[in-house]
Symmetry: C2
Subunit: 142 residues, 2 copies
DNA sequence: AAAAAAGTCTATCCTTTTTATAGAGTTTAT
DNA sequence: ATAAACTCTATAAAAAGGATAGACTTTTTT
């Protein structure tokens, strides 16, 4: 299951993308619209900013905005950023690999084998589907 | 990511299946063989017993043993039992569904749509692969 | 220059879940 | 009777998740 953090990030990004034509969007607007605690959302948007996905503008008329086109943001990127590994086991994770401490040889572990298949099937979708693919409203500017 | 509990459960089940011809297996043997805390493993095996997957025998010569053939135990069953939902979002879970609190209408939510596809791809594997499929050693008795 | 609006950043806190341990209790083979 | 093993309940330590507070900085407006 994805953490709340990642779930909130997706909803916030959707809101930012669908309103990209309105300039910077207030955290408070997103929080209200998507029913998320405003302070918690602050942390999340900051992480997305530090990762180069969002930009922000301070002062009056400020807010957050996308730095990249939605179609350039794969869903897998967001999950890895906020949740870490996408794989079900550390020993089959591509980006957060850790050696299995419960089996003698990963090379002949049937569990490793099956979970690699699950990982591949999952990534096939999450690496190819982008923020653009989960938008409801189409904004011409993007 | 699967919890340690589920990971340990898989390794314990593998050990039980691969040694099914030896009669009841001691918790301590599994714990030692798979490098798992014996007391933690106790709880896990008990859960598996209460779910009807394992049987146990008390007293000298006792231990745990499989109640069903490995090919009758889908991996998804174990995950659901110990970890709960397999889906990445509560709003796309078949067995642990919860309404999405961040979007207006799940029916037109793009995120819901993509995550349903991930769920289907994952379940296609985890519902069809069984304990038998992750064994290294083949035990004729099974 | 001052005030107001808005995001930034750090620190802290509370709760829940996860992981792990302890120990008394019960059952069974010998 | 005894020792071997699982059972069960309670507890605790650690990590993660979720949330809050408040001082700080930047920018716009007046």
């Amino acid at each position: 299951m994805l953490s709340k953090k990642t779930q909130y990030a997706f909803h916030a990004l959707i809101h930012l993308a669908e309103n990209a034509d309105k300039g910077p969007i207030l955290i408070s607007e997103i929080a209200h619209e998507k029913n998320i605690s405003i302070k918690f959302l602050e942390n999340i948007l900051l992480e997305l900013k530090n990762a180069g996905i969002l930009g922000s503008k301070k002062g009056k008329g400020g807010g957050y905005y996308l730095l990249k086109a939605p179609k350039e943001i794969p869903l897998a990127r967001i999950i890895r950023l906020l949740d870490g590994a996408i794989a079900l086991l550390p020993c089959v994770s591509l980006n957060y690999y850790e050696r299995c401490e419960n089996c003698r040889d990963e090379a002949v572990c049937g569990l490793n084998d099956v979970m690699s298949k699950v990982r591949d099937a999952t990534l096939k979708i999450l690496e190819n589907k982008t923020l653009k693919d989960i938008l409801t409203r189409n904004v011409s500017i993007l």
